[in-house]
Symmetry: none
Subunit: 123 residues, 10 copies
């Protein structure tokens, strides 16, 4: 599994006043651990930065590192939440993943961390 | 009728922090017990996992097992809710089913279990 | 980096009663400090004026001055917020920036200043 | 600048119960005081009448009278708000102006007067 | 496999002048002969009747009879074409089938019989 | 079955130069002769008049007279074509009927009479 | 019935090279001669001018003059065609009228005069 | 009336191989010579350049010069065609003007010059 | 590079009359040979079968086999065309590939083989 | 001005059979030589390759090299056409550029080279 500390890079939060950042990655792909078939999805990272922000290109490479990993949707979502929460210590964080239909089933996972404002409650 | 315990498979919840999972199956079909004609619908399973998550392929096979069952919409919806609540014991669970029009009537059934957050109140 | 005081021009607020102004610039471009590739985005400036309003052509020239600057999305957004807050001292201010996808990732940054009304909470 | 009292005409409010009126003028044009170039916009007048209503043809002629005036968007919006508030004394009034893009910037000005209901808060 | 002669019913063509009939069935389902999973599709039957027309309810029952058959898309399409051509002997006939994505692949099969007018060339 | 001669009324073609008339009736209903259930459809009458035009209200009453008739789509379409061709003797005529889905099947019937211009070939 | 010669005004064709003019009147109203109910429609006048053009305000007044006339759609369309052809003698002319649904029926009438280019064949 | 020779500027055609240029001005305004009310329209200039191209800013200023001119739509369109044909001598030229509804009438004028390719025949 | 002969499977063409098959794969991914970054695209396979049809699941596995191959869009498209033409010997074949934007550039490749009917000329 | 030979890279055409390639760059920007203001546009490159194809990343860098060049739309379009025709010698080539509105004017330039198929005639 991708090791966040080896890939993600951060830069000092350039703001002194609270604000919100959203990164939406529409080309995420990993592998189903059960069937070996590829999964495709969209990953939304939404957070209020504290000391640091995640650098965008490193975030993209971090997502690319899942390409040949066999993981369930739920595990992918939790790992991204936990990795970003641990390495960035943001004020709050929310991960929303949407997965393309496989066998007629579309899935979404919504994982909050800390005190996500109510306006973002449904993802 | 499909026996959930024989089909559904589970894996350990990979997260330690609460989160929400949605699976939307758009190719559900069963049979009307009155006319014998096929029914077509969409099934949304939304829940917050506790100890386990339902495995997606087994969920699909579970849905397929309704293919030749003669059941009313309401019975289908309740059976799915009860089967998933019993076998997974999630923190909470909500089943929303939408049925294609038959004779000009479209139907929706919303079945909650446990304490569904207000943001999802309308299904 | 653009020096707001050298470019932005203001005129006396022509109103005595509170009101809201929105300027949406759809042709913003700067440079990624990491890769040197151009970034493209939309900048929304929303504020309630106090003593002065920002003059539109000077705002456009101020945006143009970022054309060859190497700055992260977050830094651009914070700088615009801080520059406008400092030079205009509005009643409140909100900057929302949306960035075109690069490598499959689309980003949004929402930066409030002062007491932004709840109706504008998600940007 | 157009003198509201010379152009606008009114008629007695035919209703005894509160109601809301909206006039949307999509062919407003004035001149930029800075560049001399024409500006184009849409003007929304939304109000709850008290004793009188504004007569529609006179409102159109009032808008036409801005055709060759050099005024900022904010000044146009405030003048319309103040003129209508002064001459009609409505229960409340809101002016929303949307301006076509110039140099890639689109602008909106939202000017309330009195107690505008929350439902109209974003214009 | 469904035996057309046992299910399909016909009635005398009520017209003496040539005309075109289209029936679009949006809830077709059969089974993949390779994986055993259900397939879902839309079937368009377009023809110019000669001596007889196919009766709609019998056509629907004929489609329902594929429900548990394991057949490739191409075989389904050809069988429907051949069955209808043989039993109805229409002036001309065209079958167009569209299949829901399975594993990320969506399929269409276009099968003409006799002299289909050019206006219907792409299905 | 409705007797066209008893219901339809005509008036002299008010034009000396050829032209085209289209009447689209979106609230047609008849009864399925097989199941007794109501059918709903849209009827398009398109023609180039010769000596007379059909009067619109009488056309509507003519359509209403099908309300309790048990007839197949094809028979309805042919009867309308034949009735109008016989009673009006137009230069040419085309009837296009679209039928709401029944049991998942939507139908269209296209019935020309005389030399319909190619531009109207697909109905 | 409106007398074209009393209402329509013309001005000299300001062009020496052939060109096409289209006027689309979306608020036409006349009266059904059968029921006395109002009809509403859209009138498209399309022509290539020869010596003169029809003046727009007079055209509007001409349309208004039908307001209380009891005339069939076909008669309205032919009268407009004939009136404009007679009074303007254009190179060619085409009238297309679309009528709002009445009792569930929508109508269109397409009336050419002279040699209308093929590109405008369907109106 | 605007004098094209005083406003329009040109630059040498930078291409040696034929190509097509389209300029669409969406903020054209002039005055109705009959009523004095403002007219609003869109002007499309489409041409294949020969020796020179029209410079865009000068074209915009040329359009602005119609702002307070009283001219019919047809005259505006012909003047633009004739001015551009005379001053540029292009290989061919087409002017298409669309005018916002006034009194319920929307107008379009299509004016070709020289041999406009058939693909652009409807404007 | 994927070896078509090792992966693709075929079944006998179930039809005796010519017809057209389209398979659209919306989750294709390969790797850019220049940057090593993943590419994402849609692959359309359109053909008229001769002796055999390609089996859908094997086609999907064939597409999956490109997952970690470094190939240009043009090479992917040509290889798919050549592999399918060689192994199936269809009557004709057309491959259309659409690629998600990378660095602001979206690409399409259209590759015919044999005599593709004119109706499919733009892909 | 960008020197194509220094930036563009090519690779051998991987196909032996003719096919078509389209690259659409939606983030093109250059500078107006008259006003110094930035221009924004979309560039479509469509061609049938002969011996070589243009490499996508080098094409993107070639487009980026226009960022601070002062050039008219027409000159940009012709230069791209001429550069690509000269360096690639394709079977045929077509460049279509669309430019964002400036001062209310939107522009398009269509530049063919060689024998562009009729299906692409309007760009």
């Amino acid at each position: 599994m991708p090791i966040a500390e080896d890939i993600l890079k951060f830069f000092d939060n350039p703001g002194q006043t609270p604000y919100v950042i959203e990164h939406r990655h529409e080309e995420f792909t990993s592998v189903c651990p059960k069937t070996g078939h590829p999964d495709f999805g969209t990953i939304l990272v939404r957070y209020e930065p504290a000391a640091v922000c995640v650098e965008l290109k490193s975030l993209k490479l971090y997502f690319h590192a899942f390409r040949n990993e066999g993981m369930f949707f739920e595990a992918v979502t939790n790992k991204i939440r936990d990795d970003l929460a641990r390495t960035m210590s943001p004020s709050w964080l929310q991960i929303v993943t949407d997965w393309k239909g496989r066998g007629g089933v579309k899935s979404r996972v919504i994982a909050p961390w800390g005190d996500v404002p109510a306006a973002f409650g449904r993802g």
